[in-house]
Amino acid sequence: MALDDFKDIIHRCFRCGYCKFTSNYSDFNCPPYNKFRLETFSPGGRMWLIRAMMLKDIEPSQHLADILYTCTMCANCVEECRFKFHDNIVDIIMEGKASLVEAGVVPPSVRDFFKNIYTNGNPWKEPQKKRGDWAKDAGIPHYKKGDEYLFYVGCIGSYDQRVQKMARAFGQLLLRSGISFGILGEEEYCDGNEVLMMGEEGLFEYLALKNIELFKEKGVKKIVTLSPHAYNAMLNKYPGLGGDFEVVHYTELLKELITSGRLKIPGTRKMKVTYHDPCFLGRWNSIYDEPREVLDSVHGIELVEMKRNRENAFCCGGGGGNFYTDIIGGGEQSPSRIRSREAAETGADIISVACPTCMTMMEDGLKGEDLDHKIKLMDISEIVLSAIIDAGESI
Amino acid sequence: MPKEGEDSLYTGLKDIVGEGFVSRGPEELYIYSRDSSANPPRRVDYVVMPSSVEEVQAVVRLASTRGIPLVPMGAALNLEGLTIPLKGGIVVDMRRMDRIIEVSEMDRYALIEAGVSQGKLISYLKENHPTLQHSVPDAPPSATVAGSCLICGYGHLSTNYGTHAEMVNALEVVLPSGELLRTGSAMLPTSLWFGRGSLPDLTGLFLGWLGTTGIVTKLSIRLYPRPPIRDMVIYMMQDCSIVPDVVYRITHTEMAEDVSIVGQERPEWMKGYQIIAAYVSAHTREELALKKKYLKRISEKDFKARVSFMEKAPGDLKEQFMELPFFATKVADWKKGGGFEYVGAVMPIDTLPEAWEKGIEIAHRYNMLYSYAIRVVEGGHHVLFTYSYPFNRADETSMQSALAALRETQKLSLDLGAIPWKPEVDGQKEIIKRMDKGTFRLMQRVRNLFDPKGIMNPGNWEVD
């Protein structure tokens, strides 16, 4: 893809502003616009600036880079834009970033992100060797040929302390279900979704091809991902590069396992739970029901919706690499703190997530709002697992 | 004052309007120095009656060169002395300029000169454009249409369409310099008079200013459809605290044309009651029945025992209530004394109960009976609460009493957060005291822009 591919579309943005809102216009739903409020930080602003860059009316600059990289790729603009070309908005923003990458004008943290992934396979320069350590004492097996599912964990799940618990929880559930699966551990590479979202197409291709080759070599047919980001890359982008696998998100698989009776959830977990729709599961891939159905199948849970839910869910702020680069920044108007307040308003005991990025962002958000003692952050697997444990069952 | 023969101003005025239409004689000065209110008379130096815009311009120019105050006048029925000079000068009686210049049935406006009376327009429309009406205030038919608009008056269509100022499309005004200005849609040379227009608004500079920014010579007013059927329903209750709610629900239906609330101590049966009169108009009997049905539902559904409903005015009162204009003026003779004055307080409707109770205290303290008429304006956006105090013009004590009661009522209104409508000088000063200082300064600067010599109805909207 190149920016030129969109030359018949890019000037068609009317800057009408529908993209800024939720579907009922009650709130601004574009995280950077909501925070920065300059017109340049709205989706329409990005579209017009990218066109200006294309026409050489403006030059790439650090400020332009900030404007583009504060975009978390949450796709609210795609959802709300009324024009026929609405699907292409995120593509154009991606290509805008790609132009900046090409020009060598990106924020330093973005540059580091790419560099670290290229050299270490993850943004934090953590050793590749330790990528599988999180699974060591959890009995989670390595993938071997013939296993039904490759459990693809991703960078955050592998290295972030909090998210590792999420990975372990899902692993436990898979074990319990009797499905044959395995992880790649220290052989696992970054899936590349964020790299693509940030405009480094070359690096993305490199990663994708590397993964595809590896998966094929291992005879992988089905992949279950922890992260909706990886889900998106592998489901939608890998096929174009020769990687045709059956890809599911872990909540989809859980739903299937529960429905088919392979995973039984005894016990009651009397809790009020609110669910935060991840952007790459929800708006990007239209998966809204399965995670809710999984929660529903835990006896005793009362599901309460946040004011902005499903297509209108407000992004946690972690996408577009922001979970690492933090260009969108913190403070009271940071997306994760706003979302934390919104979760607290429901009166829920638990805010449930289905994405490693959401988990790490919301952890910070709740802390920032001093809500981490009031409302518990758990992912769906952890909730299901806790019900099973409460029921006295062994794993 | 120089003797008549040596009065060059008088000669100048005669030259402009002709001898028959200027006076400095004692009879004219007597009449024009007082109005029907309880206010004491004030000095008038000349009375002049122009018949054309050019004459008005010439009069203004003459006054301007001499620095002599000008006070434009309609029918002087504002009852607040607003058309009586505060600093002497020339009263410009506009009532020779009383042509109805144009009525557009399709575009629903009437272009009139400033001296056209309510009665003239009412009958003209009835005769020539029976499907149209204008909003008629509860004033005698001799009151002028323009006067009512320019003081933000109220009438029988105000419940639906707002104050009469809001019904003004465009104006022609003679400015204090003598130059002519047209506003609204008439701002362009094509001079169409149909609307307030979408160009920088200048019309507002003459609405509510009590004649201090110029003399209006022409006015275009909106006309409204006149449905063939007009009737009324009545709600009665004995608890003024529920009145706002009842009115809210009535106006929520958007089915009543005019909603007024009345409270009086005489006749005896009215004492202690709040009576809401809701006028209903319709094109067909079916429409009338539907509207009445929904209006009736309010008392049944929401207020049950507390509000009683009458589907029409009681026989003997019907003619009175259904008249247009409503003969409110009859209050003037309640003391068999030919006079009354009232405070009109513009307030949000939920202030009504407190205004009601406290008003009774004041009236009784001055040995008067309370007499209220409250008009709901533009769907309840506000109400005009009038407290009327009749007096006997032949009895000085009676007049003083009325004046004292009026002053106290005015103060009460302001304290409640209401604003006195078309206030006389003292009321204006009370308002200015409470007004945002910057806002008042802007008023003065605007006036100074138009009237650097301070000749336009001076003394009004001023501090000492």
Binding site: C16, L38 | R108, T190, R196, P200, L202, G204, I419, V446
Partner: protein, 467 residues
């Protein structure tokens, strides 16, 4: 000539007032704020600032006044006529951080909003919290602002109550010298229920395009909201019948909004004109009564070729019907008619009786410049006037297309003035044409007023300036 040091002084000054994060003089911001989505040629902005309070607005104005720098307020930025794009450079003041809904007085039916409140926010807030109340919504994107639209004679779904500028009870404003004023009943009373009975100063901000001061808050009239809303659609065979039709409809005062739209659908050989009547009611009985009344009204209307034909909704493409019923209507769709992301229109306030003349002349202009007629005609009040909009979509990427639209717009402005209409929210070009025809006295008064409100001439200068 401004010294570089002065520019820095302004920048530092602005940062001190609002904080670093809410000022910019970066190329990217200046690029965005120097253009709007209409057809105007871009004009430079020098700084962009986002105040959060009226006090901050005041401080910025004082700074600008001292430095003799223009201040140009922007909220929705969707006039399409470049009214929020600086004419003489200066500071663009983006009001949208000031987006609080300050107060709703339910009994007196008004809402007080800051200037940055969007139409969408107010719509959804009222629906959620005050379901018995609504405001009149223009058919603009929800990002349009309440205050902006109201101050430029907007019109919308409650058109029977008049233009939106008539719905202003009062304003809080900052004048060109930095003074903060309260206008309307709030000047004297704690309540913001109306302009009367005080001398009307609110009008000094209506249609003045920000040249008399910056509005920071506005009290807007609200109206009863009824649970049922529906519409009737009629096919208009002859635009000459429109005045009579609208006159009859509005004589009943039982409708909310009457809107005529005309366009040539993609596969149609000719322009289709539809007259839409919007109805609301508390009960199905009331709604049915109203519907029957209006359907009956046109049963025997006109002769062959001049009829107004009732068209049941089921017979029309559902997408169209859905679009008509939306709040607000998705008028922005026009922007992509040329797959070009742009449109602009001349909107003229006309007497109802002039609709056929304007219609025909509009057709001539459209033909001359290679457009199909693309009209909306909305009744304002009870047939008291109409807002007639002539739209010319363009392809932003095609300079020729832009020019064609600009030329058509200029011709339409001229035509509007010739027939005695007043264009609303005119772009600079249009303002010049209007002022060229104005009586010198009017110009003199306008100039005088501006001088009183804005002695240093910093308030959106270039607009309403003659010569």
């Amino acid at each position: 000539m401004k010294m570089a040091g002065d520019k820095d002084h302004v920048y530092e000054g602005l940062k001190t007032i609002v904080g670093d994060a809410f000022v910019s003089r970066d190329i990217e911001e200046l690029y965005m704020y120097s253009r709007d989505p209409g057809a105007s040629i871009p004009r430079n902005a020098d700084w962009v600032v986002l105040p959060n309070t009226t006090d901050e607005v005041r401080e910025i104005v004082v700074l600008a006044k001292d430095m003799k720098i223009p201040v140009v307020p922007i909220s929705g930025g969707l006039t399409l006529s470049g009214l929020a794009v600086p004419v003489k450079g200066g500071i663009v003041m983006d009001m949208r951080r000031m987006d609080r809904i300050v107060e709703v007085n339910e009994m007196s039916r008004y809402v007080v909003v800051e200037s940055g409140v969007s139409q969408g926010k107010l719509l959804s807030f009222l629906k959620e919290n005050y379901p018995m109340l609504r405001h009149s919504m223009p058919d603009a994107p929800p990002a349009a602002s309440v205050v902006g639209n109201t101050l430029i004679y907007g019109s919308g779904h409650l058109s029977k109550h008049g233009a939106h500028s008539e719905m202003i009870n009062g304003l809080e404003v900052v004048l060109g010298d930095g003074e903060i004023l309260r206008l309307g009943s709030l000047a004297v009373s704690p309540y913001w229920f109306g302009r009367a009975p005080l001398p009307d100063l609110v009008s000094l901000f209506v249609n003045w395009f920000g040249t008399t001061g910056i509005v920071t808050r506005l009290s807007l009239k609200l109206y009863p909201a009824h649970p049922l809303r529906d519409m009737l659609i009629f096919l208009v065979q002859d635009p000459g019948t429109i005045p009579e039709a609208v006159s009859r409809i509005t004589a009943t005062d039982l409708m909310e909004d009457v809107l005529i739209v005309a366009s040539r659908p993609p596969k149609s050989p000719s322009v289709i004109s539809l007259l839409t009547v919007y109805l609301t009611a508390e009960t199905p009985e009331e709604l049915d009564f109203k519907k029957e009344l209006f359907v009956d009204m046109f049963k025997d209307f006109g002769k062959e070729g001049s009829k107004i034909v009732f068209t049941p909704k089921e017979m029309l493409p559902q997408k169209l019907v859905h679009g008509f019923m939306e709040e607000p209507q998705y008028a922005a769709a026009t922007a992509d008619f040329k797959k070009g992301g742009g449109f602009e229109y001349v909107g003229v306030v006309l007497p109802l009786s002039m609709v056929p003349v304007a219609w025909k002349k509009g057709e001539d202009i459209a033909k001359k410049h290679g457009f199909d007629p693309l009209y909306t005609v909305r009744n304002v009040g009870l047939g008291h006037s109409v807002v007639f909009a002539f739209a010319y979509p363009f392809n932003r990427a095609d300079e020729k297309s832009l020019k064609r639209s600009r030329d058509a717009l200029a011709d339409t402005n001229d035509m509007a003035l010739e027939i005695g209409g007043t264009p609303w929210k005119s772009e600079l070009e249009g303002q010049a044409r209007i002022m060229a025809r104005m009586d010198p006295m009017v110009l003199s008064v306008m100039h005088g007023i501006k001088k009183v409100m804005d002695p240093e001439g910093i308030m959106n200068p270039g607009n309403w300036e003659h010569g």
